[in-house]
Amino acid sequence: MPTMTEAELDTAYTHLCQTMTGLGEARASLFLARFALLAMVRIGDPATLQRLTDAAAADISS
């Protein structure tokens, strides 16, 4: 599995935040849904996807 440096993660995180800022709050949910779908097909492993979906939902609060 490819690993990122902390700096690379940081850059990717900032790019995602800036992209979402540009799209505006109204389209943020759809943007994140599309990103999740693209990440799913790229990850390509059903067990991992199951685990990540559960982890993202666990302890979620507003």
Partner: protein, 564 residues
């Protein structure tokens, strides 16, 4: 709920206005260097110039050191610089050293970070010290150098004429106005720099909307010094709160205003006290406390494009405004001063061309842009500039306990030494021969060693051997130096170039050795073998290195440094 304020545990000396001897309202003497601004950057510049034997007049608009809560963290790199300036004793005695911090999201600890600290270091990665103390210790050192540094209090610059051949300043004081001529002016007059405005120069970059209230309190607490960050804490839901312990029982609390909160209302004591009270209750701090000072802060990430304007050189906040998150404000200004002092001194003394001062701008603008990059990232996390940064931060904080690989996104990216990797001053030497150690442009990694001073030996560190010189660190078996290198030293000295040959011995102790690698770590750290030579600038940055001494190469690298 209002509490009476207490004064800071510090009393500033007040100084009367001073005027130089005048002739027709003009300072009788044209000065080689005038520093405008008596803050940390102004003092460090003046002390650096004095170390190089250059006289300086320092103009300060106020009658004392600063008041209130400003810079509070001094980095290891700044301590190294201040040590060279002969002012570190007070910093190390009073300052509170710390090595890391904790971040909390609601009630859970989500990050415990450590800054680099190992047995090789001379100084802690950071100390906390209030700016009034920082300025006081630097002022004390400047007063010890009254042979070279003349401080004029209550001298406010009201006009400047910057020419190609010099600068005229008009100065107002309670004792009367006067004008003076200077070959060079250092503008260290702070974030609202009058000189920058008067010369029509513009800072460029971003300003952030998120505002922080800054509160200093005195609090009775034995809690150790570390950086504490609370995101969305139960005591102040929706806000971010930072806590720093300072010397003499002072604590600095910074908290973010909620969206839509009115800043003027927010800093009223009756609105501040309950938030501090609930924070202290959440932290379990039950000791007596009193407010000392309240201010407000908005993050800026701005810089001038060029720090040289004719014969005026900008440094510190006058040149760039960095966000507080990551503590780069004062620390980058101290680095500016350290970079500028030797270059300006060399130009004033006529041993280097004016182009050396252009490299001050090149190097420090690049450093500011690197600092701005880190500072912007810290600010985007600490004061999210949009709903997206806010939403993503909430996701990071909520997942960080179970997913440690996300924790680096919370890390405050504290200030660290910057390398001048692409500096025009670095010698064009193929560096591939080395597999470790500081490449040209980098500061010296610290290492303990035995310092040999004639017949006596004491424990010290490598940076103790860097004086106001171009230093040649020559790695040897026993300290013996080839005749060619000694001749090189003699030639430099004959040309008036401050050059120090520092032989480092691996095992033996020839009389000429200045340091001995008693830990056995130094040679490995520098990927050195007997014959390895590093050339180091007066600000501690390496500018050339070779596996073996070659007189023509050394002379060429130094000539390139002085006539870039």
């Amino acid at each position: 709920m209002n509490r009476p304020f207490k004064p800071y545990p510090f009393t500033a000396r007040q100084y009367p206005a001073s005027l130089p001897p005048l002739q027709d309202g003009v300072d009788k003497i044209r000065r080689p260097v005038v520093v405008v601004g008596g803050g940390p950057v102004g003092y460090c510049t003046a002390l650096g110039l004095a170390n190089h034997g250059v006289s300086v007049v320092l103009l300060e608009a106020d009658d004392s050191v600063c008041f209130g809560s400003r810079a509070i963290c001094i980095s290891r790199r700044s301590l190294e610089i201040i040590t060279r300036l002969g002012a570190a004793e007070g910093f190390l005695k009073l300052g509170l050293p710390w090595t890391g911090g904790r971040s909390f999201y609601r009630e859970a600890e989500v990050l415990h970070f450590k800054m680099p600290m190992d047995e090789n270091q001379k100084h802690p990665p950071m100390i906390n010290l209030a700016q009034y103390s920082i300025e006081q210790f630097l002022l004390d050192a400047a007063e010890r150098r009254s042979d070279k540094i003349e401080i004029r209090w209550q001298n406010r610059v009201t006009a400047i004429a910057a020419r190609e051949d010099g600068t005229s300043l008009t100065i107002d004081t309670p004792a009367g106005a006067y004008t003076m001529e200077a070959d060079w002016v250092v503008a260290a007059d702070g974030g609202r720099s009058f000189l920058r405005e008067a010369l029509g120069l513009r800072l460029k970059g971003a300003s952030y909307e998120g505002r922080y209230v800054i509160v200093d309190i005195v609090l009775d607490s034995a809690r150790p010094a570390e950086r504490l960050a609370y995101f969305d804490p139960p005591c102040n839901p929706g806000s971010t709160v930072l806590v720093h312990k300072q010397p003499s029982g002072v604590w600095r609390v910074d908290y973010q205003l909620r969206d839509g909160e009115d800043p003027d209302e927010a800093i009223k004591p009756e609105n501040v006290m309950p938030r501090v009270e609930s924070l202290l209750a959440m932290m379990g701090e039950n000791g007596a406390w009193s407010p000392v000072w309240i201010g407000i802060y908005k993050a800026n990430a701005l810089t001038l494009d060029d720090y040289r304007h004719r014969r005026v050189l900008f440094a510190g906040d006058a040149a760039h405004l960095l966000p507080i998150f990551g503590v780069r404000g004062a620390n980058s200004g101290i680095d500016d001063a350290d970079n500028l002092a030797w270059k300006l001194a060399f130009v004033v003394k006529g041993i280097a061309s004016e182009r050396l001062l252009d490299s001050y701008s090149t190097e420090r603008v690049a450093a500011a842009r690197e600092n701005l990059g880190y500072g912007t990232k810290s600010t985007e996390f600490m004061a999210p500039p949009s709903f997206a940064f806010d939403l993503m931060r909430k996701a990071v904080l909520g997942l960080a306990v179970k997913f440690p690989e996300l924790r680096s996104l919370i890390n405050p990216r504290q200030s660290s030494a910057i390398a001048y990797t692409h500096s025009p001053l670095n010698a064009a030497v193929p560096d591939a021969e080395f597999s470790a150690g500081p490449a040209p442009g980098t500061v010296l990694p610290e290492c303990p060693l035995a310092i040999v001073d004639g017949a006596s030996t004491r424990e010290g560190h490598l940076t103790d051997l860097i004086g106001p010189d171009i230093t040649a660190l020559y790695f040897t078996e026993d300290g013996a130096v080839p005749a060619g290198l000694a001749a090189c030293e003699a030639e430099m000295r004959a040309r008036g170039i401050p050059f120090a040959l520092v032989p480092l011995a691996r095992s033996g102790v020839a009389a000429s050795a200045r340091g001995r690698d008693y830990t056995g770590r130094l040679f490995a750290m520098y990927d050195a073998a007997p014959g390895t030579l590093y050339l180091v600038r007066p600000d501690g940055h390496v500018f050339a290195r070779w596996r073996r001494f070659d007189a023509a190469a050394v002379t060429g690298a130094i000539d390139h440094l002085l006539q870039p």
